[in-house]
Amino acid sequence: MSGTASSARQARSGGGWQTLLADLKQVRASILILLALLIFNALFTPYFLSVQTLNVNLTQVATIIIVAMGMTLVIATGGVDLSVGSLMAISGVLAPLIFLNPVFAGAQWLGIALAFVVPVLVAGAFGVLNGLFVTRLKLQPIVATLVLYIAGRGIAQVITNGQLQSFSTPGFSYIGLGRPFGIPFQVILMLVIVALTYWAVRRTVFGRSVLAVGGNETAAGLSGIPVARVKVAVYAISGLLAGIAGLIVIAINSSSDANQVGQGMELDAIAAVAVGGTLLAGGRAQVLGTLFGALIIQLIRFTLLAKGVPDAAALVVKAAIIIIAVALQQRRRRE
């Protein structure tokens, strides 16, 4: 029965573009839905095909996509991270405390630089904590991250005494309002993060380990993959990205409200991952799918808003479309 096998086809991975195409094919359901939404809007929403509309939509969705990238990795290991919204809040309240601090009055640039770095690292550290809950204490991810989902926002409020911090610091706000080449800065950041995540999943040992751990933890462990370390790493990455997203949100608003920053973000991110076709059971990571998933959700929100659908009703429609998208992905997988 050997013979025939030696003629096995030449491996696909030779061409990077072919791999990309194959990956796009896997998430074609979400691409089709996205196209349908685009065509619908182009036909029925006035001024839809304008740079301004594009920018509005992309700036609004950038933070969701950034957070959803981390979520994709976490979900690929068979976990979930509910704490991302709260970590955004922590990062969001820390930054103004740093760059508004009188200590840096003489060297504002230093304050701003630290305001970019420290909050993100703190959020990352909380991510590590999530990872340790999951690996050391063997908590179920949903419970482990629920701890910081609840406590994180509390910490953020305690830090600021529940006060709203307003600021006007152009150097810092660049991350949310800057427009190099007319493109919103956070959109560029988002695209870089998506590209990095996609590349990491495809090409790095870490990315392959994530999929192996999610696909069959026991087998991965017996094959020498450091299962616990991989898991801690994905929660840490999820925390870091949530930290970045928190900074963008407060920069756009020029104010930081511990109560509002990142509110409901965990669900938006999970929805984007699910619509994008990543198995919630783990073992797969459709990075590009998540990107399209987030775009779909954003476009639905925008369309309903443009059509003047009341907010409450819009939520129901959004939920319905998410269900349809996930069902389509599921059906494709069963073929």
Binding site: S13, G14, T218, L222, L279
Partner: protein, 505 residues
């Protein structure tokens, strides 16, 4: 079943396959991996929808749309890997989906008593209120069987029911099968063990490449004809029952690996084994004797309570499999599905999983080298796959096993631990894997092979260590490895003073 046809994404799995089973008949269904046996069964039970052909059951045409519908229609299936819920109790598993209820509440006492009675009929006494996962695979399989029997099925399909049973359990199972026959229940029996087919089956259907190539009485076909039908060619080494070619005695010299007095809770109570370079050492014993546990300790997957492991005379107490792999060990687990394959990942990824750290530069996988290695092993081991990027779950059992073997061979190990390497794969692939193991040993690899098949131990091993109740009870070597000796050691063990000295027959 007449002229059944089924294709998957353009690949034909069944073409004109037929199967006829009379009432009260034990019918053998046999064929190599990928011959279409499993697909045939899944079509029959409604797990797959057929593309063409007809199914007649109990006098009328039937169309089961789901396994549940088939079950209600009187067809029960026991799958190769037990498909029950480990965390629920034995009784719950037996009555899953049809619990005795009153006012919508489960009647626990009735259910437990009934479960107890059913198992007792099968000759098993156990606490039915304990979670199923606490019991061995063999017991789990008996529970699955009890479940099937209790449904009052008219046709029971058994997909390799004996692959994880020991002889006594197999005898019990055959007793049950004969009992079913008397109640004029039909049985479709899928197995790769020819002895068993002749022992229990009345008629046989042989499949090859999605077609039925032979159907007739069991008594009318010889073993050789049977295997020829299955493989579609004549086999050359008619004498040998396995693919092993003995390479004379193992090399003398110091042991490559030595484990001594390993203790781990109740499961290992002083197990010892030694493997020299270029030697295949068998690890024999009944289920629960501690064979796999010993292998896991050596590989660093479990920490022993006490005992010495040495590699090249140096202490080697690995704390993680990763450390063991770095030291040149490899371990193929017996449970391919739960501990071996990563189902969603491709053949390529599965094959290079253990090698990944070494395939990378600064954390980035060198895909060119990866492809090279994958293509080399796919060709060398004759792995049947349409594309290295095909998900491994789509491969047949034998080919999955080859991928897992390749996963370890790719790391260029010095010692390979194989736990039941030929379980649940067809005769052809089995012989290939056995031959490969022999070749590897001749190439200098040390192999520690756990096996429940006596032929495999007798023909393939230079030395066999027998475990019983967690400790080594005998060490047989060369011509001393005979069936009576093995059985004797497994069943009763030898006197303590014989350990670990060699036993002369």
């Amino acid at each position: 079943m007449q002229d059944i046809q089924k294709s998957f994404a353009g690949v034909v799995a069944l073409a004109d396959a037929s199967l006829t089973v009379a009432p009260g008949e034990v019918h053998a269904l046999i064929g190599q991996n990928g011959a279409g046996k499993s697909t045939m069964i899944k079509v029959l039970t409604g797990a797959y929808r057929r593309d063409g052909g007809s199914v007649t059951f109990a006098g009328g045409p039937v169309e089961f749309t789901s396994p549940l519908a088939a079950q209600q229609g009187g067809i029960a299936t026991i799958y190769q890997e037990v498909n029950l819920i480990a965390l629920r109790t034995v009784a719950e598993n037996i009555f899953l989906g049809r619990e005795p209820k009153r006012w919508g509440l489960i009647q626990w006492p009735v259910m437990n008593a009934e479960a107890n009675r059913l198992l007792r009929e099968l000759g098993i006494g156990l606490d039915v209120t304990r979670p199923l996962g606490e019991f061995s695979t063999a017991i789990q399989q008996m529970v699955a069987l009890a479940r099937a029997v209790s449904i009052n099925a008219r046709l029971v399909i058994m997909d390799e029911p004996t692959s994880s049973l020991n002889e006594r359990e197999v005898d019990t199972l055959f007793g049950v099968i004969r009992g079913l026959k008397e109640r004029s229940v039909s049985v479709i029996f899928v197995s790769h063990r020819l002895d068993e087919l002749y022992a229990v089956c009345d008629r046989i259907t042989v499949m090859r490449d999605g077609r039925t190539v032979y159907a007739g009485n069991m008594a009318d076909i010889s073993r050789l004809q049977l295997v020829e039908q299955m493989l579609g060619r004549e086999i050359k080494n008619e004498g040998a029952q396995t693919g092993f070619v003995k390479s004379g005695a193992g090399k003398a010299g110091e042991p490559l690996l030595k484990a001594e007095g390993i203790r781990l809770g109740q499961r290992l109570t002083g197990a010892s084994v030694a493997v020299r370079q270029g030697e295949v050492v068998g690890l024999a014993g009944l289920l629960g004797s501690g064979r796999s546990e010993l292998a896991r300790v050596i590989f660093g997957a479990d920490m022993p309570d006490a005992g010495e492991v040495t590699l090249d005379g140096q202490p080697a107490h690995f704390r993680t499999p990763a450390e063991a792999i770095n030291a040149g060990l490899g371990f193929c687990s017996e449970d391919r599905k739960a501990e071996g394959i990563i189902p969603e990942l491709s053949v390529r990824e599965n094959l290079t999983l253990a090698l990944l750290p070494r395939l990378a530069r600064a954390g980035v996988v060198d895909t060119v080298r990866q492809s090279e290695i994958v293509n080399r092993f796919v060709a060398q081991l004759g792995i049947k796959t349409s594309d290295p990027d095909q998900p491994i779950r789509e491969l047949s059992g034998g080919n999955q096993q080859k991928v897992l073997l390749a996963r370890w061979l790719a790391t260029d190990p010095r010692l390979l631990i194989l736990d039941e390497p030929t379980r649940g794969i067809d005769v052809g692939a089995k012989a290939e894997i056995q031959r490969l193991i022999g070749e590897l040993a001749r190439g200098g690899l040390g192999v520690l092979m756990i096996s429940s098949e006596l032929e495999e131990l007798i023909e393939g091993c230079h030395e066999v260590t027998v475990l019983r109740d967690g400790h080594s009870v005998a060490r047989l070597s060369g011509d001393g490895i005979t069936e009576p000796e093995l059985l004797h050691a497994m069943a009763q063990g030898l006197e303590p003073q014989d350990i670990p000295a060699q036993v002369s027959p």
